[in-house]
């Protein structure tokens, strides 16, 4: 980059020149990425910090003084956003722990069924949240696999109502457990 080129682009951007602004931000992107990556190890988080910095630069563009060098201004803003993001993630990390680290820690194969148990617990709580009629229909027609006529006799619901309730229950479970239709 030649001396003063970025400053000239930024001054043009303040005057409303969208092309100069686009060129400047694209030229500065590697610099911003470098700062964010140096502070934040996770590449996705670092990229989010870069985007926070871009939004802040956009919002504060009138505070840039065209007589002063632009780089320190861009660097200071990006450092600030990277630190903010780092703080936010470390706060979140204090409450959560990555389960990947503990996935296969025990030699007994039966001891590593945590994920299946979690999935089962999620399914049970999702079933428990269904309306009474849908829960009954699902239990009789799908889980116990009874013929519709017998399920109808046991539940006192008509065959048609059972079909509708089962269908709705399955759809509700899919939605709740985040399965794509």
């Amino acid at each position: 980059m030649s001396d003063g080129e970025w400053e000239a682009w930024m001054a043009a951007a303040q005057a409303g020149d969208a092309r100069a602004y686009d060129r400047l931000l694209r030229a500065a992107l590697p610099l911003l990425r470098g700062i964010a990556r140096r502070r934040i190890r996770d590449p996705a988080e670092a990229e989010d910090a870069v985007q926070d910095a871009l939004l802040t630069i956009h919002r504060l563009r009138e505070t840039y003084d065209p007589t002063r060098p632009l780089k320190p201004w861009l660097i200071a803003i990006t450092e600030r956003r990277a630190i903010d993001r780092l703080r936010r993630t470390s706060r979140r990390a204090g409450r959560e722990s990555a389960i990947d680290d503990f996935g296969e820690t025990l030699p007994d194969p039966l001891a590593n069924q945590g994920e299946a148990k979690v999935a089962a617990a999620e399914l049970r709580s999702a079933v428990a949240a269904l309306p009474e009629a849908q829960r009954t229909a699902l239990g009789l027609a799908k889980l116990q696999d009874l013929p519709l006529a017998e399920a109808s006799a046991r539940s006192g619901m008509s065959v048609g109502a059972l079909k509708v309730a089962t269908h709705r229950a399955v759809r509700a479970l899919r939605k709740r457990l985040g399965v794509e239709e």
Binding site: G16, T56, R59, L60, T63
Partner: protein, 217 residues
Amino acid sequence: MRSEDLIGRLSADLTPVRPMAAPGWQALLWLALAAGAIGICVLAFGMRHDIGERMGLPHELGQWLASIATGICAALAAAMLARADRPASWGLLPLPPLALWLASLGWGCLADVVRLGPIEGQLGTSWGCLRFTLLLGAPLTAALLLLLRHAGPVRPRPVLLLGALASAALCSAGLTLFHHLDAAVMVLLWHGGAALVLLGLAALFGDRLLLRAPGSG
């Protein structure tokens, strides 16, 4: 979204802006506003009867000048720190006059103990001081934070505290002109206490003025 796409959207949304006035000018503008507001109050309440005598004492005059210098330096430091590329060391600017001001208040207390006896005898209440600093200092602080609201995504907290310090110091200087307090311990207690209350209020409510998520407005 990829950062390259974000750049495309930001430049598509670009509207012209006028570069903001230099921080020195912003500080000067606010100081003029503060001087005007405090001047009107002093005129409204009238100068204290012994003002000439008081300002003739080098210690009292020094204390008054130190409080004004604290206000000016804190306002300038706040305006500088509100800009991303100005060094953080600007925040140290008000410390020497602040130290001088507090030291002269403390020294005044000691001198009063020697002259008037134990401090308990000099204590009284002066809600007026507190009320003046809050009623005038709060809007002045808010005005400065509004002027420097671009500090939000950069260095919100130091700007907030410096802004409150600037207002409190100038209000205290204004108070000295019309409010009669005999003992320095009273000045320390009520002027200093009012300044602390103002700083606390700014820390509590100033966040709303300055702390907003990046890109939210």
